[in-house]
Symmetry: C2
Subunit: 102 residues, 2 copies
Amino acid sequence: MFPKLDPLLHSELRLAVMSILAGVDEADFTYLKKQTGATSGNLSVQIDKLTAAGYITVEKGFKGKMPRTTCKMTPAGQEAFRDYVEALKEYLSSGGPGGQRL
Amino acid sequence: MFPKLDPLLHSELRLAVMSILAGVDEADFTYLKKQTGATSGNLSVQIDKLTAAGYITVEKGFKGKMPRTTCKMTPAGQEAFRDYVEALKEYLSSGGPGGQRL
DNA sequence: AAAATTTGGTTTATATTGTAAACTTGTTTA
DNA sequence: TAAACAAGTTTACAATATAAACCAAATTTT
């Protein structure tokens, strides 16, 4: 009845990051930080986890002389994100008179 | 852009419990345990947290001679649940060509 | 009628996670 | 050249989730 929620995505910050990346082809660290309002440390850690899971790829380069970290969602990440959304629906749209809630 | 997700609801088991209660007026411990597949211990703890938050009420009685714990969602719980669902939408339906995902 | 099993939980301990604070490396500005 | 800023990373700590162990009463088995 209640499918398991991918723990990697069931995290506020990681979900926000994936949500952004789902819409924009690629985004750099600073942009993600601004959009999410996260601290650098937290963001860095969560990006590592998403990378380790193969959900995103990270490229490090330079923009002028400044370091620049660019993130991009992988196909596996896209699939995981879709699956997560589907799973969530099961939770949010449970039976009862209310019917579908989403 | 990304609203804060109520940490009390952003938990797999608590969300499942609330989801069930959102649809059924009331449910007892055993039923919740069966539906969620959770262990008793875990369920007990999460029910306590939802109770402490005022999201559900718990009534302890007897069904015949056996103890019986019945849970029911409060109005505050219903509101929190609705708000959580709304907040989640912001995460899941981010911009990009895909558009709304839910 | 003891002994073993089941029911319906609670308490406690542990493993995992999330988060912030501190640090690093290099750059720009005063 | 010293101070402040940019872009992160590392590390340490606090909060969470989960399971394991436990408990009391009821029921079933022998």
